[in-house]
């Protein structure tokens, strides 16, 4: 048929490298080992700051702690109402929720948060909510 090249030169560019199925994959992640609790100091800004009398709030979360865990804990304390627009599951990445660990922006909410020598995690949280237009 016209319009389609024979042979198909671009197919391999679309397909990319061969995929291995999970069951064939020899690697596996080591199971998480609980090591007690992690202290997290969360400083809230903007709309979140008005929702709780204590700022920063101190959380004691079971290790290991991800950014998503921190957000979930804050949502429980402050109420999910403010987290517009909310993700489908509590704590799941909502891009409007900007989290910083010791000043560094954390994009991957599944990533583990770690601090030097067991010190409390220094977290900042602000919701950048404004809908864009134009």
């Amino acid at each position: 048929m016209s319009g389609v090249s024979e042979p198909d030169y671009s197919a391999q560019l679309w397909y990319g490298p061969p995929r291995r199925s999970r069951s064939e994959d020899g690697e596996s992640r080591p199971p998480d080992i609980l090591v007690g609790t992690v202290e997290v100091a969360v400083r809230l800004f903007g709309i979140l700051a008005g929702l709780t009398p204590e700022n920063p709030i101190t959380l004691s979360l079971p290790a290991p702690v991800t950014a998503g865990d921190v957000v979930a804990a804050v949502q429980e304390q402050c109420g999910p109402a403010m987290f517009a627009h909310p993700a489908r599951r509590i704590g799941e990445t909502s891009p409007s929720c900007r989290l910083f660990l010791a000043g560094e922006p954390i994009e991957d909410f599944g990533a583990r948060l770690e601090a030097e020598g067991g010190a409390p995690l220094d977290v900042e949280l602000i919701l950048v909510l404004a809908y864009e237009g134009g």
Binding site: S10, W14, G50, R98, I126, E132
Partner: protein
């Protein structure tokens, strides 16, 4: 500069003497949101010329008519130069505010006091509203909103008219703000209600040059448009179409492409779309019980597999399969069958485009798509699909906004003409950053279902994944209508009922407006006026007193673009940097002239307001969150940074310690080469896009579950996973005498409602055959007893009415009534603009019924009747 008097070719001694101040300043235009780079010539404190900056990729050293005319907007004697306080408590159209000049201190004291009250009660009562024209205004407003604590932010008519559809679909399917043809390599481009490269807007002047090169090279341009102007005027083929029916045409073309011609890029569909995802009888994905991943039918294994455990080459696109006793089919199989109903004959009825043309154009598109081919660019082999179907404001500006735009993009998706050489490109969806710093770095990535999440967006309300609807907390109800962006419900006739029905826990009380003339830019003036009257305080940053300023309590005199600084004159890089191969370019904006009178730049005023209210630490956190400032450039604590310091931090955060504000002041911009892996990223990034919008089913259920018990119906037909044809309200109006579809279009000589006050642009528009007139087909006009220049009244069935002079022309569909731009000003404070052109938006109703129930884009066409008022004078 050129001196007219020759003095026999030699300049007089005093003219040749060096001026103390004779400087060319590198900065950025703001006559539209293209933000093309400029060099402004200042001699002894006076701006005497504005030219392009040949060093910059944005504009490529040239400017359109608007850009070179910025001088006359800058020196408009009607500019606001002092803060003004209204003394007349009554507000209304044509009601004199009885302005009193006040000091900045008085003005800011009063504004801060109100902000303090609101912040203590409920910060969401504050609405920030800005014009899209000055793209750079978004950062100070976004940071302020985050720090203050309000989610309520809008852009006048921006988004409602032009972007709720375009940005949503461009974001979901191309990870960018908009789409355009790859001008350097495209051979066949079909434009649906778009003018890329032939008018203003995103990457405007750069696109003009690139599109001209493309046409000179031989690129065919087929332009679908009710009117033959701008892009259609340069097209190899103009396809006149009944207003608002682009979606039907695109769907018929999809049908011809997939079913009649059978031209599809199967490997692309298998690897890069959710075409192979199996869907069950409920039309939702079949999911793996263990991992929850969508299943595909792996033909080699002879069974269903999670999509990420099967080689795309082995995935079935068609067929019926059984998974655990449930019959299911790949979503492409459904779509292919779904297209069958959209025959060219069916489309001809709806669009008036002849069926034979529909078949021919689709065949031309299919032949030129060269499915299966590749090309080597800069040593890198990429797929080559030199066809592009693009859409923008016109085609998505209807109640069926989502499907109209999506149907056009499906043409690209079927043949793999998406973000590869020659094809439909998003504006720069992937950037690997400056070679020295690797910033800004962004790239699309995949959600757990394998579908694309954009790597960069303006703000964090990403188009995908779609949020979970909830009882709304935002006055625009965008957290209920989770696929919307700008909302009509800030000003609509039904907003208060909706707020009551939805138990919105607060009501908006204050607006801080930056330059938007929402009284004109949204819909008919009365509905917006009624809404504005309900606010306790309206503060407006303005360069001129507009129809909207009349409703303000306090007007603050703004510095214009020639008097302001911005570390990012536009939004990097998905908004206004040209797409395709070439260079990355990040220009700044810096002041060329001093403020006039007591004008102050908005960004600095917002910083001072935050200090007066007492939330500088939150504002700093807002900036950190908005532009990802990392140590050592993050804003610390409650330190009172100036806006210049914040700009300096933004630039160093991206380009390193040597490239701060001082460096950029001298150089104006930074640039570096693009790589094919960035430009043609689709082949290098493992993400899929949805040709089948499966989430619509659940999203509809969730929105309906909240809205319908409260009296708001959410029509299911707009939430089908497959693009379909749904008519506008105008298409269903058959009242006697209501024979024309009124529409408006962007004029190359004007931007929004702003530029009619510029006397050079006004003069050019008065000489233009169409700018200030109502275009009507010659034969249709004569049948109505009209002659060129006659005055007519245009009325809708709801009694909205405008008047204007007709221009009889062959260059418009027989049923169309074309009105340019957003003209028809009535205030005395814009004396050049007053009375020029036609105020089209007066014809528009503003309520839920006249908006898309998916993305809340307004339905922008109106069925009208015309009455002759008087003969041409």
């Amino acid at each position: 500069m050129n001196i007219i008097d020759p003095k026999f070719g030699t300049l007089e001694a005093e003219e040749k003497a060096p001026h103390e101040d004779n400087t060319w300043v590198s900065s950025s235009c703001a006559l539209c949101y293209g933000s093309c780079s400029i060099k402004a010539h200042r001699v002894d404190g006076v701006i005497v010329k504005i030219e392009g900056n040949p060093d910059s990729v944005v504009g490529k050293g040239r400017l359109c008519g608007k850009g070179v005319s910025g001088i006359m907007s800058h020196y408009d004697p009607n500019r606001v130069t002092k803060p003004l306080r209204r003394t007349n408590p009554e507000k209304g159209i044509g009601v004199d505010p009885k302005w009193k000049e006040v000091s900045w201190d008085e003005a800011l004291d009063e504004i801060a006091a109100e902000l303090v009250r609101i912040r203590a009660e409920d910060p969401r009562k504050l609405l920030l509203q800005r014009t899209t024209t000055v793209t750079a205004s978004r950062l100070p407003f976004q940071a302020f909103a985050a720090g203050f604590g309000t989610p309520n932010h809008s852009t006048g008519g921006g988004g409602l008219h032009c972007g709720n559809g375009a940005h949503l679909i461009s974001g979901i399917m191309h990870a960018s703000w908009g789409v355009l043809p790859d001008f350097q390599y495209c051979n066949y481009a079909i434009y649906f209600g778009a003018s890329k490269g032939h008018s203003a807007g995103h990457a405007s002047t750069s696109n003009m040059g690139m599109a001209a090169d493309a046409r000179a090279r031989g690129m065919k341009m087929v332009v679908v448009d009710p009117m033959c102007n701008f892009a259609a005027a340069k097209a190899s083929e103009w396809v006149p179409i009944r207003v608002g029916t682009d979606g039907a045409l695109a769907l018929a073309m999809c049908n011809v492409l997939v079913n009649d011609l059978g031209v599809i890029d199967a490997p692309y569909l298998k690897a890069k779309t959710n075409g192979p995802y199996l869907t069950g009888p409920d039309k939702r994905y079949m999911r793996d019980a263990f991992t929850g991943k969508p299943l595909v039918w792996d033909e080699r294994a002879g069974g269903a597999r999670p999509f990420d455990e099967s080689d795309p080459a082995d995935m079935a696109l068609e067929g019926t399969f059984s998974v655990d006793g449930t019959a299911c089919r790949p979503s492409f199989d459904r779509l292919k069958e779904h297209f069958l109903q959209f025959t060219p004959e069916w489309a001809e009825e709806i669009t008036t485009v002849p069926a034979a043309n529909i078949r021919r154009i689709t065949k031309e598109f299919a032949d030129e798509a060269r499915v299966g081919s590749t090309i080597v660019i800069d040593g890198v082999t990429v797929p080559y699909r030199p066809v592009a179907a693009i859409a923008f404001r016109g085609s998505q500006g209807h109640k069926n906004s989502v499907y109209n735009f999506l149907a056009v993009d499906l043409l690209n998706q079927m043949v793999g003409a998406a973000d590869v050489a020659g094809s439909c490109l998003g504006f720069n969806p992937t950037c690997h950053g400056h070679p020295d710093t690797g910033q800004p770095w962004y790239e699309p990535n995949a959600d757990p279902d394998g579908l694309m999440i954009t790597g960069m967006w303006m703000g964090y309300h990403y188009p995908y994944p779609v949020g979970a609807p909830r009882l709304p907390q935002n006055i625009g109800l965008q957290d209920l209508f989770v696929m919307s962006m700008t909302s009509p419900f800030l000003d609509s006739t039904d907003r208060e009922k909706l707020w009551d029905d939805m138990d919105l826990p607060y009501r908006p009380e204050m607006i801080i407006n930056y330059g938007s003339n929402l009284l004109m830019s949204i819909a008919n003036k009365d509905v917006v006026a009624e809404s504005l009257k309900t606010y306790k305080m309206i503060v407006s940053f303005d360069v001129l007193l507009t129809e909207t300023s009349e409703f303000a309590d306090i007007v603050l005199p703004d510095c214009d673009y020639l008097q302001s600084k911005d570390s990012r004159s536009n939004f990097p890089f998905i908004f206004s940097l040209p797409a395709g191969m070439g260079e990355w370019c990040w220009p700044i904006r810096q002041p060329v002239a001093e403020p006039q009178g007591e004008q102050r730049p908005m960004a600095e005023v917002m910083l001072e307001l935050a200090d007066r209210v007492g939330f500088r630490a939150d504002l700093n956190a807002g900036y950190n969150g908005a532009i990802n400032l990392r140590p050592p450039y993050r804003l610390e604590g409650d330190k009172k940074y100036t806006y210049e310091e914040i700009c300096d931090h933004d630039l160093k955060n991206n380009f390193g310690p040597e490239h701060g504000w001082e460096w950029f002041k001298e150089h104006g911009l930074i640039k570096w080469d693009k790589k094919p892996e960035e430009v043609y990223w689709r082949a290098f990034v493992d993400v899929r896009v949805p040709i089948y919008w499966e989430w619509m089913i659940d999203t509809h259920k969730e929105i309906a579950a909240i809205a319908e018990p409260r009296g708001l119906q959410i029509p299911e037909e707009y939430y089908d996973p497959m693009a379909t044809w749904l008519p506008c309200l105008s298409h269903e109006e058959h009242g006697e005498g209501f024979d024309f579809y009124a529409f408006y279009y962007r004029d190359i000589i004007h931007t929004n409602s702003y530029t009619m006050e510029n006397p050079w642009l006004d003069e050019a528009a008065r000489l233009d055959p169409f700018s200030y007139n109502i275009a009507i087909n010659t034969e249709s006009g004569r049948a109505q007893g009209l002659a060129d220049g006659d005055a007519i009244a245009v009325e809708t069935s709801t009694g909205r009415r405008v008047e204007g002079r007709v221009k009889l022309t062959e260059a418009i569909h027989p049923e169309g009534l074309g009105i340019a731009a957003l003209a028809g000003h009535w205030v005395d404070t814009m004396p050049i603009a007053k009375g020029k052109g036609v105020f089209f938006n007066e014809l528009l109703e503003l309520d839920y019924e006249h908006a898309s129930p998916v993305n809340l884009n307004l339905d922008l066409c109106a069925k009208v009747k015309i009455t002759r008022l008087e003969a041409a004078s």
